[in-house]
């Protein structure tokens, strides 16, 4: 049996395995066959723009996948030492890549990892060569065009030693997609002294279920900054990315900015394993909940080595009595010289601030909008100014 068949066999055995968190999704309701191949037309381009993907603009590189097809996979001619291709192609090109495939995630973790292996539909492979610093963002878009589709891309990001990489991933759907399931697998390998800044913007529909599965291995002096932004209603998202800080002085920072409205169910957590000496990890979660939205913020930091530091933070704003926010932080100290902390504050919009704005002649609706936006305003560290402005603009467009 070859290596891939072994993975598929393990996957098959886990195909009915419920995930620890999130509602159970009946996978049989989704299809993996595409009737019509879609090209990048004006509609696709506009929807992509909403998740930060600018096809017409010159970027370091662009990857664009619609349903199961890769429509774009290009690198600017001026950029050297960067590779972008589909994971399928990379796997057939590089024998060594098999040792990365499913290394920081288990294929049999739950039914979603299982289905992602069994029905894998491309995904991006992005790699920087050692010492190459790419400051301009690389953009990747995963787009669903077919109603009822199961989209299961498997992404692998490798930042070789001393390299720097900045990726913006936008996930969205066509306006005519009535329901769909996205199970994106993403594996990060941040090598010695490399830095990866990864920003993911989700704009799924009200009938889309999302089960991303993400793992990261960070080596000596490596840094991963992962920003996650979702501002529009979704049916149901559940994700719990895990970072393994194996190297000395490795760092990870997760920032999440969530505006949960209507009937959205958003269950997000970050697990950080501080394994190497002097590692540090942080997860900052900012959420505004309104409508009947239900938001869980889980977080777990496990300190396993000396001089390690971890911090979990959840800031929630409740705009509506029918919404809910549940913060579940977990700190696990397995070494006497680890320092772990958590901080959570959830409350309604502060009336004092609201009245203050109104006393400047700002009507109540507008004042609430300004406060919500101010609360969510990222100030995300490590992001290029243009992207920060872009995220800010998007936050200010929340209705």
């Amino acid at each position: 049996m070859d290596w891939r068949e072994k993975l598929k066999k393990a996957a098959l055995q886990a195909i009915d395995k419920r995930a620890t968190y999130g509602s159970d999704i009946d996978l049989s309701k989704f299809i993996d066959r595409i009737e019509v191949e879609k090209s990048i037309d004006k509609e696709v381009e506009n929807r992509a723009l909403d998740v930060g993907i600018e096809i017409s603009k010159e970027k370091s590189g662009t990857y664009f996948q619609i349903d199961h097809s890769v429509l774009l996979s290009k690198i600017a001619s001026s950029i050297k030492g960067l590779e972008i291709t589909s994971t399928d192609e990379a796997l057939s090109k590089y024998e060594w890549l098999k040792s990365y495939y499913w290394r920081c995630l288990s294929v049999d973790q739950d039914k979603y990892t299982a289905i992602a292996e069994l029905k894998q539909s491309k995904g991006y492979f992005i790699r920087t060569e050692p010492g190459v610093k790419i400051s301009q963002p690389v953009q990747a878009c995963l787009f669903i065009n077919t109603s009822g589709l199961l989209q299961a891309p498997h992404n692998i990001v490798i930042a070789e030693e001393e390299s720097e990489l900045n990726i913006i991933t936008g996930c969205t759907i066509s306006s005519k997609v009535s329901y769909a399931l996205h199970v994106g697998i993403t594996e990060f390998y941040v090598k010695r002294n490399a830095t990866v800044i990864f920003t993911m913007i989700h704009n799924w529909g009200e009938n889309v279920c999302v089960r991303p599965r993400t793992g990261a291995i960070i080596e000596d002096g490596g840094v991963l900054i992962s920003n996650y932004i979702t501002l529009n209603p979704v049916r149901d998202i559940q994700a719990y990315p895990t970072a393994y800080l194996v190297g000395k002085g490795a760092k990870v920072k997760f920032n999440s900015i969530i505006y949960a409205s209507k009937d959205s169910i958003i269950d997000l957590g970050n697990r950080i394993l501080l394994m190497g000496e002097g590692c540090s990890g942080e997860s900052i979660f900012k959420v505004v909940a309104t409508g009947r939205a239900k938001v869980y913020n889980r977080g777990q930091i496990i300190g396993q080595n000396k001089a390690t530091k971890g911090h979990l933070e959840c800031r929630g704003m409740m705009l509506c009595p029918t919404a809910s926010i549940i913060a579940i932080p977990e700190l696990v100290a397995e070494h006497s010289e680890t320092e772990l902390s958590h901080e959570a504050a959830i409350g309604k919009l502060q009336e004092e601030q609201l009245h203050y704005l109104m006393s400047r002649g700002i009507p109540p609706e507008e004042a609430i909008g300004i406060l919500v936006k101010g609360f969510l305003d990222p100030g995300l560290p490590g992001l290029p100014e243009a992207l920060k402005t872009e995220i800010r603009r998007r936050i200010f467009e929340i209705k």
Binding site: G361, P363, A367
Partner: protein, 262 residues
């Protein structure tokens, strides 16, 4: 007449704080309201701008002849009533520059035209544009910076009536001078009326009010010209002065108590 307050009774959380206030203010007129702690000065200010937790049980507020007693806070602001808060809240994520633009009726996220406007306003209160424009509103501001931020915002509103609630508390002598000068300048250049609420006379060295009112226990117990009353306050203190006037002067008729004619 710009402002007329008639027999105003105000309660907060069910407790009556103001017990019948009468006050008149002409366009361009500056008055000061003084009094000891908890005499009702801030309650009067908050009721005038229309903070919702200040419930008006009786009486009326007229502004430019219009009854605004039941008008919401933001409409009063639009009509030209602005207040510098005694302790303004800090708002993370909202920049001072953007707040000044908003107060001036400009959406800072839709156009870049606000920059010149904000620069101009910050200059009026002697705050450095590049240093303060992007600071989160009041976050980590010193006492003096807070007060100047308040003034900048109300100048941006181009008000007809400025209510300055203890604009001189918690500021050092240099800040006080900047605040005093910028307020005086604004009042003179814009024919703006002002109600200055203060504990002590420091700010009044810079802005001379025409009349001075002394509040005690939710009422105006004394009023008179500034020159006349301020020396008495300094000589006797509020309590003695009030007692003296009540005992030997105009017994019981507190609101109309006056040491000189209007």
């Amino acid at each position: 007449m710009l402002l007329e307050v008639q027999d105003l009774h105000v309660s907060v959380e069910g407790k009556e704080i103001l017990k019948g206030i009468n006050l008149k203010l002409d366009r361009g007129e500056v008055i000061a309201i003084m009094g000891h702690n908890a005499s009702g000065k801030t309650t009067l200010a908050n009721a005038l701008i229309g903070l919702p937790q200040y419930i008006i049980n009786k009486g009326k507020i007229l502004f430019e002849g219009m009854d605004i007693t039941n008008k919401p806070i933001y409409e009063r602001a639009k009509m030209g009533i602005a207040m510098a808060f005694q302790s303004p809240p800090s708002i993370r994520g909202l920049k001072l520059g953007d707040m000044i633009a908003l107060a001036g009726g400009i959406n800072p996220w839709k156009s870049k035209n606000h920059i010149e406007f904000v620069m101009n306003i910050l200059d009026k209160v002697n705050l450095n544009y590049s240093k303060y424009m992007d600071r989160d509103l009041n976050v980590g501001f010193s006492g003096g910076e807070r007060k100047r931020s308040e003034l900048a915002q109300i100048f941006a509103m181009r008000p007809k009536l400025m209510i300055l609630d203890e604009v001189d508390s918690g500021v050092d002598i240099d800040s006080l001078r900047i605040l005093g000068d910028s307020i005086r300048e604004y009042i003179e250049n814009n024919n703006c009326s002002s109600i200055i609420i203060t504990h002590h006379r420091h700010i009044l060295q810079y802005i001379k009010p025409k009349r001075l009112y002394i509040m005690s226990n939710g009422r105006i117990v004394l009023s008179g010209t500034f020159e006349e009353l301020i020396s008495k306050i300094e000589a006797l203190g509020y309590e003695k002065l009030i007692k003296e006037v009540l005992n030997y002067g105009l017994e019981g008729k507190t609101q109309e108590s006056s040491t000189s004619s209007h």
